[in-house]
């Protein structure tokens, strides 16, 4: 410590990121600190821009559907579904009813595995690795079922413009039923382990609070919004696929806890209850599933020709595990879209970090940052370039600078 009275001691700045062990994905945080307390928080995303939209605008929609699978590693079906719905609106394709049910079932299985993955990550961020391993073990059941139904664990590749590429076969239904029973049996155990645990209550209750007003003003979506008491869910508000036929209520924390505090704990409650809600939705789907075709146009070559006649623009939306995803597509009578815009759910949720983090302590940063389930590589759509400079040094440029300095010194 310096004795110089002129020197300003607080607030001092703590940078975290862009790559940091406490953050699962790259984002740059800058905190103004007073001791352990965060006075001001700021963040800069944009470290993982991959140019997916650029790639998409040079490909035809049949190719893009599989590109959208890879926007997010967890939401394997959410982006494809939103994109396919946008294309179907432009081309006025009627999706067969059975395909809608298949889509819904896969989307709900995805929600189960995504929420369990998040619960494990949250436990890990609290330093509770035993719980991480338990949740990830039970998550495997959903992954295995998805693999059985679609052919792959992560990049399902089941959505096609106009329907789905695979129908369920009768021998798969016992496996689905077994998985649903597994998660029904697990519900009380998971809720007990997460919500009655002393450490989780100590660390998550009244930590990272997002008020109802802030959640509304910052346009948060998905479980982050619902944990703050916002009654919103794309599946209920704007039903699509088979959701219109089903009885769904948005999950709000006060239904289980008796009150809404909008803290990290409420976000755990919402996600765990949504796992059970997804089981219920899949059960409803299986009961109502009609027979019939699963794709409007089974011949891909014909579908490719139809793209050349498509004119118009449309929005496709879907309630992904993290919140609403939105795809905007414009077709101008060419094989590839003129414009394609992807809005991942984390894009809407990132700004809620600021009110959550301010006033909290350094030790709470990992769990608060993780609590909105951020998916940054899905979100990054922009790389800032000013007068030809990206402001990022590559290995080659650093090498060149190094060589130049040696020459300068020896000159």
């Amino acid at each position: 410590m310096s004795d110089d009275p002129q020197k300003k001691m607080t607030p001092y700045t703590v940078p975290i990121g862009p790559t940091h062990p406490a953050l699962k994905e790259p984002v740059m945080f800058t905190f103004q600190m007073n001791g352990e307390q965060i006075l001001k928080a700021d963040f800069a995303p944009g470290q993982t821009h991959r140019g997916i939209e650029w790639m998409g605008m040079r490909r035809n929609p049949v190719q893009i559907v599989h590109l959208t699978d890879r926007i997010c590693g967890i939401c394997g079906v959410s982006h494809s579904l939103a994109f396919a719905r946008a294309m179907e609106q432009i081309m006025e394709i009627e999706v067969p009813e059975r395909a809608d049910y298949v889509r819904t079932i896969i989307a709900e299985f995805e929600r189960i595995q995504s929420h369990l993955l998040w619960a494990g990550v949250a436990a890990h961020e609290l330093g509770f690795d035993t719980l991480l391993h338990l949740t990830w073990r039970v998550r495997e059941q959903a992954m295995d079922t998805i693999e059985l139904l679609t052919g792959n664990r992560v990049n399902y590749g089941i959505i096609q413009v106009g329907g789905v590429r695979r129908d369920f076969t009768p021998d798969q239904f016992p496996a689905i039923e077994e998985t649903l029973q597994y998660y029904s049996d697990l519900k009380s155990k998971l809720l007990k382990i997460f919500l009655e645990d002393k450490t989780i209550q100590m660390r998550c209750r009244d930590c990272g609070v997002l008020s109802y007003d802030d959640a509304l003003k910052l346009c948060t979506v998905g479980p982050t919004a619902r944990a703050s008491g916002l009654n919103m869910d794309v599946r209920v508000d704007y039903p699509f696929a088979a959701y219109g036929d089903l009885a769904i209520e948005p999950i709000l924390p006060d239904a289980y806890m008796g009150e809404t505090r909008g803290d990290v704990f409420d976000r755990i409650v919402v996600r765990l209850l949504e796992v059970d809600q997804s089981v219920d939705i899949i059960r409803q789907c299986l009961d109502r599933m009609p027979a019939g075709e699963v794709i409007a146009e089974p011949k891909l070559a014909k579908l490719l020709n139809q793209f050349k006649k498509a004119h118009g623009e449309a929005l496709g939306r879907h309630e992904a595990p993290r919140g609403e995803v939105l795809h905007y597509v414009r077709m101008d009578g060419k094989e590839h879209p003129t414009s394609w815009k992807v809005k991942a759910s984390s894009y809407s949720n990132l700004m809620s970090w600021i009110p959550m983090l301010e006033g909290e302590q350094i030790a709470d940063i990992p769990i608060i940052v993780a609590s909105i389930d951020p998916c940054l590589s899905c979100t990054d759509r922009v790389a800032v370039v000013r007068s030809g400079e990206r402001g990022i040094m590559t290995k080659e440029e650093l090498h060149r600078l190094s060589v130049e300095k040696t020459r300068r010194l020896s000159a």
């Binding site: 035809n60 599989h66 693999e147 052919g151 382990i193 009655e196 891909l300 070559a301």
Partner: protein, 134 residues
């Protein structure tokens, strides 16, 4: 009431079999090639690989006999992994680029393409012989 509900779960876990898949050998052998030779002679046993589900999408297989070089597969390939050899009316598939969506097998009018069960495809050279199908 705040408690520690994980403790009984942990104690129960002590007496359960591990949930993870077994490695081929229980312990890392001092020499892998020697161990594999022993397995070949029937002196040692390895844990069998975990079976893949039906209709799993693994490494692509290509039967050039029926292929007419129509290039429909290259048109739907999202990863540009298929090269059309125009003069020979054949295709060449770079497996290191392939994203295993199986779209080419769907569109192929002659049924020349199919997905196999093979998934152990790691290699240091992305143009290794077994990663180029033609």
């Amino acid at each position: 009431m705040a408690t520690l509900p994980m403790i009984p779960e942990l104690l129960r876990q002590l007496f359960r079999t591990p949930a993870t898949n077994a490695f081929p050998a229980k312990y890392l052998p001092s020499s892998v090639t020697e161990f594999l030779a022993k397995v070949g002679r029937g002196e040692a046993a390895i844990h069998p690989p975990v079976p893949v589900p039906k209709d799993f999408r693994g490494k692509i297989t290509y039967d050039p006999t029926g292929c007419t070089g129509c290039s429909l597969c290259a048109k739907v390939c999202p990863a540009h992994a298929i090269e059309v050899l125009k003069d020979e009316k054949r295709i060449r598939i770079y497996v290191s680029q392939c994203i295993f969506c199986s779209q080419c097998t769907d569109i192929c009018p002659k049924g020349s393409l199919a997905m196999s069960d093979a998934f152990l495809l790691a290699d240091e050279n992305r143009y290794a012989d077994h990663l180029i199908v033609e």
